[in-house]
């Protein structure tokens, strides 16, 4: 188990490093950067622009810029914004709270709603319940957040006046964006849950349990233990999608956060900021997947047996 975890950590770090390198090469390969975009547009002379580029090390060969960047990362120096000259680590620190709150709340809603819908779609007693749950899950999958957000703001904030619409901070401002993002994410969790429970229902141990006369409630317990396993993996995967969902949600609901920072940086071609967020996203994703893999082994002894 410990050996496995160490091996898994090694490959997670390798993937994160490869991701960072790809991002670095791709972004350096593009003509034009924030210095052109901001200074030159602001009417600075070519001499001033060249001096600024020199100072930032943008005229060094790419391999040296890469070496400097990676060494900086190792030391905890994520570089600084080409536009505001604020350290990237500080920008992330200031915005990560709002984004974590949004994706955390959305994940909570997505898992709760997704699992309930998945169970209803697979184990529901009446046909209308099963079809209704299935339909709702498909609806969630086919309505992107940039569409449901507008609808939700219109219905809950303008027509009903129940919740504040855009801007602001605090719990009341978190409910609508988290619900919209959580609803969309719940769709795939529901589908995986339903499929996995149906699979479990068809397995031999269910017949055995029924044959020896176990009460239906105990049979259900057996089924859910096995049926819920793949849900761990899909939740880990969805956490990655939530990160991109926050980009759009933050824009529509005019919230602070990393998604907004990323879009601004992309528009300004502010590479150190884009790279910092890319590294953060790759590290988070690798860490989540590693935890999910390890968790899978802890929960399901059969996976360990296979090694």
């Amino acid at each position: 188990m410990i050996g496995y975890s160490i091996k898994r950590l090694g490959s997670a770090l390798f993937v994160a490093w490869l991701a960072l390198t790809l991002a670095f090469v791709a972004l350096r390969w593009v003509p034009g950067d924030a210095v052109d975009a901001t200074l030159a547009r602001g009417g600075a002379s070519p001499g001033e622009v060249a001096a600024r580029r020199d100072m930032l090390g943008l005229n060094d060969p790419v391999w040296r810029q890469y070496g400097d960047y990676v060494m900086g990362l190792v030391r905890g120096d994520w570089g600084e914004s080409l536009v505001t000259e604020q350290p990237v680590a500080e920008i992330i620190r200031q915005n990560i709270g709002a984004t974590s709150a949004l994706s955390g709340a959305a994940l909570l809603i997505a898992v709760t709603l997704g699992v309930v819908l998945g169970i209803a779609a697979s184990l529901g007693r009446w046909r209308p319940v099963r079809y209704g749950a299935e339909g709702l899950a498909s609806l969630a999958l086919s309505t992107p957040v940039y569409w449901t957000s507008t609808l939700a703001i219109y219905v809950f904030s303008i027509v009903l006046g129940l919740l504040p619409g855009v801007g602001g901070e605090g719990i009341r401002y978190l409910i609508l964006p988290a619900a919209v993002l959580g609803f969309h994410t719940a769709g795939s969790i529901a589908q995986v849950t339903a499929g996995s429970i149906r699979d479990a229902m068809g397995q031999g141990f269910v017949r055995t349990a029924r044959a020896k006369g176990l009460p239906e409630l105990d049979v259900l317990d057996h089924v859910l233990r096995v049926g819920m396993l793949p849900v761990v993996a899909v939740v880990a995967l969805q956490l990655g999608f939530l990160l991109s969902g926050t980009v759009i949600t933050e824009i529509i609901f005019v919230r602070r956060g990393l998604g907004r920072v990323l879009l601004t940086a992309i528009d300004n071609r502010d590479y150190p900021v884009v790279e910092g967020l890319v590294v953060l996203s790759a590290l988070t994703y690798s860490a989540i997947n590693m935890l999910a893999d390890v968790a899978y082994r802890v929960i399901d002894p059969r996976v360990r047996m296979e090694e």
Binding site: A19, S142, Y146, I153, Y154, R198, G202, I266, R269
Partner: protein, 269 residues
């Protein structure tokens, strides 16, 4: 029992998609107004006989824009899906069949790309490529490759483990021949079903980039662009966003339904 009665989902899905395709192709004959013609005096009119879905902030007819928007949105999505599928299948086949170092190298790069959520990857690629419809198709299409390559590879690994592939190898068939004759037919169904998922991602993600304003032409009739317009004016004219939103959801819903009916979730046995 007829095929239609046995698989009602397939019939509904094909019917809806066929209708959407017809409307998109026949847009010039179906649209009642010029989708780009602005008329400030007609700003934000409610839906009526003249303007079926109302008008937007610039007085353009929402119905005509939705009809024309299908062309652009779905055209971009098809191009996007093509950009995902061709390399995705090639990489998945190569990695799954060749195995060893090639598999390791290809899958390491795919895993590194998978470390970015697909929309973030597409956003980063749009930074590289710049704004525009084709650029969006490439950005979203490339961002979808790693997931598709992984699915293809997994299917190939399963398909090549069957005895007849060993037998073909034993009698000296060449790898390309084995792939074409034995492996590809065996994996066609899961690949087709995941191609449906890929197409719905292509629609949702390319419309997302359009929504965020990377489409270049801001006046173009496009569902993503229209949703962005609708957001500006939803306080006074919610219909501007509702029509393209419904069209988008209906399309993706039908594609998912089609995917489910071609390869039913494992449970229905």
């Amino acid at each position: 029992m007829s095929a239609a009665a046995r698989n009602p989902r397939l019939v509904v899905a094909l019917g809806v998609l066929g209708l959407i395709a017809l409307v998109s192709i026949g847009a010039p004959w179906i649209a009642s107004h010029d989708p780009r013609a602005a008329a400030p005096e007609n700003q934000l009119l409610e839906p009526s006989g003249e303007y079926l879905f109302g008008t937007d902030l610039l007085g353009r007819d929402v119905f005509s824009r939705v009809v024309y928007g299908g062309r652009r949105t779905l055209g971009v999505a098809l191009l996007t899906a093509g950009i995902t599928l061709a390399p995705g299948i090639a990489i998945g086949l190569a990695a799954g069949y060749a195995g060893r170092w090639l598999d390791w190298a290809l899958m390491s790069v795919m895993d590194a790309l998978l470390a970015f959520p697909s929309l973030l990857l597409a956003l980063a690629l749009v930074t590289v490529f710049g704004s525009g419809v084709v650029q969006i198709a490439f950005a979203v299409g490339i961002a979808g490759i790693p997931a598709y390559a992984r699915v293809v590879r997994a299917a190939v690994l399963e398909a090549r483990a069957v005895p007849y592939v060993d037998a073909a190898r034993a009698i000296g068939a060449r790898p390309a021949g084995i792939l074409a004759r034995h492996v590809v037919p065996a994996i066609a169904t899961p690949l087709l079903s995941f191609a449906g998922v890929t197409l719905s991602w292509a629609i949702l993600n390319s419309a997302a980039l359009m929504f965020l304003g990377y489409g270049g032409d801001v006046a173009a009739p496009d569902w993503g662009v229209m949703l962005a317009d609708g957001r500006e004016s939803f306080r006074t004219g919610p219909w501007v966003a509702v029509a393209p939103g419904m069209a988008l959801s209906l399309t993706v819903f039908a594609i998912n339904l089609l995917g489910n009916s071609v390869a039913p979730p494992p449970a229905n046995r």
